[in-house]
């Protein structure tokens, strides 16, 4: 084989993409299998709905972007913390406190004029999320508390706290949920609802998708083009070496968890200010958008630009799952497919090694790069 093709196939980006693709294909095959077992006659129609449901009309395509917005941000949150070697499973808590801050500002601070209103709501949501990320960050940096565990605790504390706060401040007792936000607090549509619609029914897409994409680009710049990004990656790849090189690892961990929290909080704000009629329900259930950020971050291989596409992909599957109900299938198939994709993307290292050993035999083995510990657990002891 031509040497340049070999080099192309063995490059990091291609290997990452191929291993994600492999996980996706396995996930979809498992989904097909489940459909075949439960109803063989409709299985192919149902599977077609998952694969192509997002493209059936412009409204569905708009819904894809609407569902993608919050999970791109929680995905960025998980992916960014992972660069610093921390597994941010607390995106759910950060998401919901951010959502509450945004809804509170949206309902109560009506003295703010026009665009300033939703702008301030977004900023407050980011601050609330940052605070929720700050606590596990401090506990990790100064007390060596395992981030996975403290984040799980913060998820529940956040959920119950938001329930108390909603009930006592912006409560709609008839519907057992938060009140509607003022119209000035709703994110502008920027004409998107005129493009993405089916006949008279517009989709819920709004400028939030642009904010999510911009956030992804900013995170990309921070990670790849700044000194802080370099320190962050150094901390994630080898905490001891980075300490030896003079990097303040405490500061890096705390700031990275704050940024991760702010991203999740922003995601919460963009979902609940989308003007789609969604309000914070007072239920003892953790926000699923936070957990959906994990597969998005994994599929995007931690690369912010990859995460944008991964978020759109997962949202696309979700919309396909809704369409599948036409054929009497239960939409939970989508979640099963995503779970299988996560499971196999945990094998990413293996896929990459496989690709390398087949295509990179004569390449210099020294160019191998591989994170020491992707999760936080390995580095804790």
């Amino acid at each position: 084989m031509n040497i340049s093709i070999k080099r192309f196939l063995s490059s990091e980006g291609v290997a990452n993409f191929a291993s994600s693709l492999m996980a996706i294909i396995i996930g979809l095959l498992v989904g097909l299998l489940i459909l075949l077992v439960s109803n063989p006659r409709q299985a192919l129609n149902g599977f077609g709905a998952i694969l192509f449901g997002g493209f059936t009309d412009m409204k569905n395509l708009g819904q894809v972007f609407y569902f993608a917005t919050p999970i791109i941000l929680t995905g960025l949150s998980v992916g960014f913390a992972n660069k610093a070697g921390q597994f941010n499973i607390g995106a759910s808590g950060q998401f919901i406190v951010g959502a509450f801050a945004a809804v509170y500002v949206g309902v109560k601070w009506t003295f703010l004029p026009g665009a300033l209103h939703w702008g301030v709501a977004l900023i407050m949501a980011m601050l609330a999320g940052a605070l929720w990320g700050l606590i596990p960050g401090i506990l990790k940096a100064f007390y060596n508390v395992n981030v996975v565990i403290s984040c799980i605790m913060m998820n529940y504390i956040g959920m119950y706290l938001v329930n108390v706060l909603v009930t006592n401040t912006v409560f709609d007792s008839l519907k057992n949920q938060s009140q509607r936000v003022a119209s000035t607090a709703v994110i502008p549509k920027m004409g998107l609802d005129n493009i993405f619609r089916a006949g008279n029914s517009p989709s819920s897409v709004n400028a939030g998708i642009f904010i999510a994409i911009i956030a992804g680009i900013i995170i990309y710049i921070i990670v790849e083009k700044t000194q802080f990004g370099f320190e962050l990656k150094a901390c994630g790849l080898n905490p001891d070496a980075s300490k030896y090189a003079g990097i303040n690892s405490h500061r890096t961990i705390i700031i990275s968890m704050m940024i991760a929290g702010a991203l999740s909080g922003l995601g919460g704000a963009l979902l609940y200010l989308a003007g789609s009629g969604k309000s914070i329900e007072v239920l003892d259930v953790l926000a699923p958008e936070g957990f959906n950020g994990i597969p998005v971050a994994l599929l995007g291989q931690g690369n912010p630009i990859g995460i944008i596409f991964a978020g759109i992909f997962v949202a696309y599957l979700t919309v396909g799952g809704f369409n599948m109900q036409l054929f009497n299938f239960v939409p939970q198939v989508t979640e099963i497919i995503i779970a299988v994709i996560i499971y196999f993307s945990a094998f990413a290292l293996l896929f990459k090694d496989f690709i390398r050993s087949h295509y990179a035999k004569d390449e210099d083995k020294l160019t191998k790069t591989r994170p020491v510990s992707q999760g936080s657990l390995g580095g804790d002891k």
Partner: protein, 317 residues
């Protein structure tokens, strides 16, 4: 006095599942594998157990059907946990990621199967398992009221599992080897212990106990199963850490968490607490906040198994 009886009886409904699941987590982590999939395994165990009860209730008397359901829940728990073991032991994958995958898979699977075979996602069952009063023991003055009235056999099963766990972990050769694999797998390997096998066993035990825990959480607290165990798997993880990976400390932690849950759900019936007028969410938050505080104080010299969460690679130094 009746209030105290009531509180303790209620507390058992919450504490025993936490105890059983946390003990399961202990076996997995002591062998060196982090298991955050406990939540998902609980859901699957509860799902198959309740489905079995739903289908066979009426054909068999109460207690035998419960025991059979417990066995089924344990078996499905083991099957699910083996996927986690395969990812984290053979494939050397990130254990948190494969655990997350199982936590996501479990409720979706339970809802999907329930809706496909019954068209609704709730699976109802008749609670015919409560024991009004255990013969003879229920008449003991103080203890009878606390532990032997309005009880389930699962309460006694929980205590039995606790004692067996302690014996197995500290008094048998197997327990010593399991702990060695979690502390220093290379050293264990060098004296001929099969680290992979021990870790598989550790994870399988955690799967069995988490499956049982899911079932015995749903039975006293509900009359239908709705594809959720309300975060008890994560709470059990907190109990495990709060209990510093030690069986009897785990028992105390489970009682503390169970008491807080009981107060959160029944505080309006307790005169002293209802006078304070604190929202019940505060009681619900306390276990989590307490865990964070305890973690902050203990994590510097944590009792966590040293090799926990690190895949064992024979070739590494």
């Amino acid at each position: 006095m009746d209030t105290i009886y009531f509180l303790v009886q209620q507390m058992m409904y919450f504490s025993i599942p936490l105890l059983v699941v946390a003990l399961g987590g202990m076996f997995s982590e002591r062998s060196g594998v982090t298991n955050i999939a406990l939540e998902g395994i609980m859901i699957i165990g509860a799902f198959t157990g309740i489905l079995f009860i739903n289908m066979f209730q009426g054909m068999l008397p109460g207690q035998p059907i419960l025991i059979l359901a417990i066995i089924i829940a344990a078996a499905t728990g083991i099957i699910v946990s083996l996927t986690h073991a395969f990812a984290s032991i053979n494939m050397k994958a990130d254990q948190v990621i494969s655990g997350t995958a199982i936590n996501m898979f479990a409720p979706a699977f339970a809802i999907y199967v329930a809706r496909m075979i019954r068209t609704v996602q709730q699976i109802p069952f008749v609670n015919q398992f409560r024991i009004e009063k255990v013969p003879v023991l229920g008449d003991i003055p103080l203890l009878g009221g606390l532990f032997f009235r309005n009880a389930y056999i699962t309460t006694y099963l929980g205590f039995a599992i606790l004692i067996i766990s302690w014996v197995v972990l500290y008094k048998t050769r197997f327990g010593l080897r399991l702990r060695a694999c979690g502390e220093h797998p290379q050293a264990a390997d060098s004296v001929g212990i099969n680290v992979y096998k021990m870790r598989y066993i550790g994870v399988a035990i955690s799967g069995a106990l988490a499956g049982i825990g899911g079932l015995i959480f749903v039975i006293p607290t509900s009359t239908n199963f709705n594809a959720t165990v309300a975060g008890y798997g994560f709470l059990a993880l907190a109990v495990l850490i709060f209990g510093q990976w030690n069986p009897f400390k785990i028992l105390l932690a489970a009682f503390f968490f169970g008491l807080m849950k009981t107060i959160a759900s029944a505080y309006s019936g307790i005169p002293v607490l209802s006078a304070l007028d604190i929202p019940n969410e505060v009681y619900k938050m306390i276990p989590y906040i307490a865990t964070l505080i305890v973690l902050a104080f203990t994590s510097k010299n944590s009792q966590a198994p040293k090799a926990e969460g690190i895949p064992y690679d024979k070739g590494s130094r």
